[in-house]
């Protein structure tokens, strides 16, 4: 067999390029965070609704606030909207929708409210996060006014009716006849802290 001595190669250059690839992949992971929000906003992926606020630099439930245009009302069909809500662990609250469900025409503005009660004997602040099912309807679900636009603080034992005004835009797909709006109420203390305090309470 013919044999030859190994030829020297510039390994360092290839290593540098590969390291660049590693760095790019790492940056990509973080780039996914804002990209993902934009994507969800555009597609209604994940039930993120149109209309919302910017809080602490993070978008809650969407990027732009609802503007309340007056779109034409589509009287040819009705959509049933159902309301529900959950209080996440660590928040000593109760919540229930005062209207369970509602039939409406796309384009007409409606107002409903939730009854929220602080069951503890201290002042607590919470933040509601909305989600719409099916996801395809989310981008046409426009909230004009919502208790989820800002943090809510309830005193010891306090109960409050929290209002919500919204429009289902007439562009919503004709195949969609039922829409569910669901809120998750979180404690603003953050997940880890609330869980620890929830353990204490138990």
């Amino acid at each position: 067999m013919e044999q030859v001595h190994p030829a020297p190669h510039d390994n360092a250059r290839l290593v540098r390029r590969l390291l660049l690839l590693v760095a790019a992949a790492f940056v990509f992971a973080f780039a996914m965070v804002p990209l993902y929000d934009v994507l969800c906003e555009a597609t209604g992926f994940n039930g993120k609704t149109a209309g919302g606020i910017i809080r602490d630099g993070f978008a809650v439930g969407g990027l732009k606030a609802g503007t309340a245009p007056t779109p034409a009302v589509d009287l040819t069909r009705t959509v049933r909207v159902e309301f529900t809500g959950t209080v996440m662990p660590g928040l000593p609250w109760d919540m229930r929708p005062l209207t369970i469900s509602l039939d409406l025409h796309p384009g007409e503005m409606q107002q409903v409210s939730y009854l929220v009660r602080n069951t503890s004997n201290r002042e607590v602040t919470g933040q509601a996060v909305p989600s719409v099912t099916p996801g395809q309807a989310a981008q046409h679900f426009e909230k004009i006014e919502c208790f989820c636009f800002s943090q809510q603080t309830l005193g010891p034992g306090e109960a409050r009716e929290m209002p919500l005004a919204f429009i289902i835009k007439p562009e919503v797909d004709r195949n969609i006849t039922h829409i569910t709006l669901s809120y998750a109420f979180f404690s603003t203390d953050g997940q880890r802290e609330t869980l620890t305090s929830a353990r204490e309470v138990r």
């Binding site: 013919e2 001595h5 290839l14 590969l18 992949a25 039930g47 997940q191």
Partner: protein, 532 residues
């Protein structure tokens, strides 16, 4: 490459060769490092195995007998992390270290010192991953990570410090894998023997090349995701916290952007070594070399665009569901090309069934079941029922045990004579194969039925109707686990002695590695062969 070079010119080195432990700590020799990777993988294979036998013991009967649910949750998660990151991946890297330089005619890996660091990061990482178990025994903390291997938020944001240990361990394991990948790519690109064009590269090296690129492209994404998890846990960020504007589903996207390519990372080295074994024992050249190379590349590319099939049920717009369904199913096309090439390599061959060939044929049949059940899961409508059930568990064990572990064993039996210079005990090898295949199916076929009937995975208790199949599965698992002791014994005995292996240990074997004596001297191919 017609002549057999039994006496290879070994250059004399004035190198410093410390003995004992120091030799292994400081070695930069690709064969030593390969041996260390394989040994580490074998040890961790048993560590992970013991964990899951405890789980199977708990699942032997309905009700809670042996452990608390919290501990059960820790065992399943750490079992998976150990098997994937500390057993299968290091085993594949061990093969790469031992075989790629021998097969491409290179004197060593391109970056020998990096190679040493890459290995020595592994033991501390494995130690960190399992340390919380011991700490909990001593009364500190509440044990290891209990989220399953997927780290899903918000559970992982809320978990105990086992999560922090696991995040740290995954970071270290990831750095080690990236170092190994860079080394392998540089070796393959820069150190091939003269005349070895990319289209003459052995398929094993091709499989590893694609794996290495996938690791470099996706492991940093996992590192990014667990870093966000860490800052969510300790520094008040809200990446995955809905109350703060984050989104737990984002974690699933990031995790599976890594996680799905990971399953191909685990298998590409095995797909690479399979044709070598099949061709050897069929005494025929590999069928469809080019088709296999192109399939590797196609699978590598497709694997990064299908990730969301792991959470169809998390809620997605219908167009996204359809896209991820069809792209996932598309992967089975290049995979089918590979199956065809494997079978065509055997067809009309003078086949003989030594242990490596038995494992190779067993691999083809059982891995085929993994692919077919994968297609069922890729169907959005069907997956709504099967997701998070034991059907998924059975599917990926056909892929990762029958595909991954049995594939690794194929390679170990095939190259063991080359590594040790001795033939292993063939009777024991065959016994190991048959015990493995039978008990593997005894363990996992019942899990398909359990999944179809609706038994959820990752739950320590189950309804009475599932009792019989679970009992069978547990019995199978214990036979399977014990059978692997035969493997460890056979390897150990082969290292210690046995019938002398020739340089071409198998009659039909082709390739540069068989031109070298068995075992090869410490330094090989310092004068490279010229490939025609």
């Amino acid at each position: 490459m017609s002549s057999v070079t039994t006496t290879h010119p070994v250059e004399q080195h004035a190198e410093y060769h410390p003995g004992g432990l120091l030799r292994w700590l400081t070695t930069t020799n690709h064969k030593d490092i390969g041996t260390m990777y394989m040994t580490f993988a074998l040890i961790m294979f048993f560590v992970g195995g013991i964990m899951i036998l405890a789980v199977r013991a708990e699942l032997f009967q309905p009700g809670l007998q042996l452990m608390k649910p919290e501990f059960f949750n820790q065992l399943i998660g750490v079992h998976a992390l150990v098997m994937i990151f500390a057993a299968l991946m290091p085993a594949a890297t061990g093969f790469a270290n031992w075989m790629i330089p021998l097969m491409i005619g290179a004197p060593d890996m391109a970056l020998p010192r990096l190679n040493n660091w890459g290995f020595w990061l592994l033991p501390p990482a494995a130690f960190l991953l399992t340390l919380p178990f011991s700490l909990a025994l001593l009364g500190f903390g509440d044990g290891a990570i209990a989220t399953g291997w997927t780290f899903y938020a918000p559970l992982s944001v809320q978990g105990g410090w086992g999560v922090d240990f696991a995040i740290l361990a995954v970071h270290i394991l990831g750095i080690s894998s990236i170092m190994g990948s860079i080394n392998i790519i540089v070796t393959i690109f820069n150190m091939r023997a003269p005349g070895m064009t990319m289209m003459k590269l052995p398929l094993f090296a091709w499989g590893w090349l694609i794996t290495a690129f996938l690791l470099i492209a996706t492991l940093p994404v996992l590192a990014g995701a667990v870093t966000m998890l860490l800052t969510d846990r300790h520094f008040g960020t809200h990446f995955f916290d809905a109350a703060g504007g984050g989104d737990p589903i984002l974690f699933q996207h990031l995790f599976w952007f890594f996680g799905h390519p990971e399953v191909y990372i685990l298998l590409l080295p095995v797909w690479g070594l399979m044709p070598h074994v099949l061709s050897t024992f069929s005494r025929k050249p590999v069928y469809g070399y080019k088709a296999q190379v192109y399939s590797f590349i196609a699978i590598g590319i497709l694997s990064v665009v299908v990730w969301a099939h792991h959470f169809f049920t998390a809620g997605m717009p219908i167009p996204a569901l359809i896209y991820f369904m069809f792209s996932t199913m598309a992967i089975s096309l290049p995979l089918a090309v590979l199956f065809f090439c494997w079978i065509a390599t055997m067809w009309k061959g003078a086949m003989s069934f030594e242990t490596p060939m038995l494992f190779a044929v067993g691999f083809i049949v059982l891995f085929g079941i993994a692919g077919l059940t994968g297609l069922i899961l890729a169907d959005v409508a069907a997956d709504a029922q099967y997701h998070h059930s034991y059907f998924v568990v059975a599917h990926f064990h056909y892929a990762l045990f029958a595909g991954g572990i049995m594939g690794v064993m194929t390679g170990v039996y095939y190259w063991l004579p080359k590594w040790t210079g001795h033939m292993y005990n063939e009777t024991l090898g065959k016994l190991h194969f048959w015990l493995t295949v039978i008990s593997f199916n005894l363990t996992f076929i019942p899990q398909f039925f359990l999944g179809l009937a609706g038994m959820p995975r990752r739950i320590p208790d189950y309804a009475l109707q599932f009792a019989e199949f679970n009992a069978i599965s547990t019995i199978g698992a214990f036979i399977l686990g014990l059978s692997q002791l035969l493997f460890a014994w056979n390897v150990w005995a082969c290292v210690r002695g046995g019938k002398k292996a020739e340089s071409r240990s198998w009659e039909g074997a082709e390739g540069l590695e068989w031109e070298l004596p068995s075992p090869p001297p410490h330094h090989t191919w310092e004068i490279q062969p010229q490939i025609k």
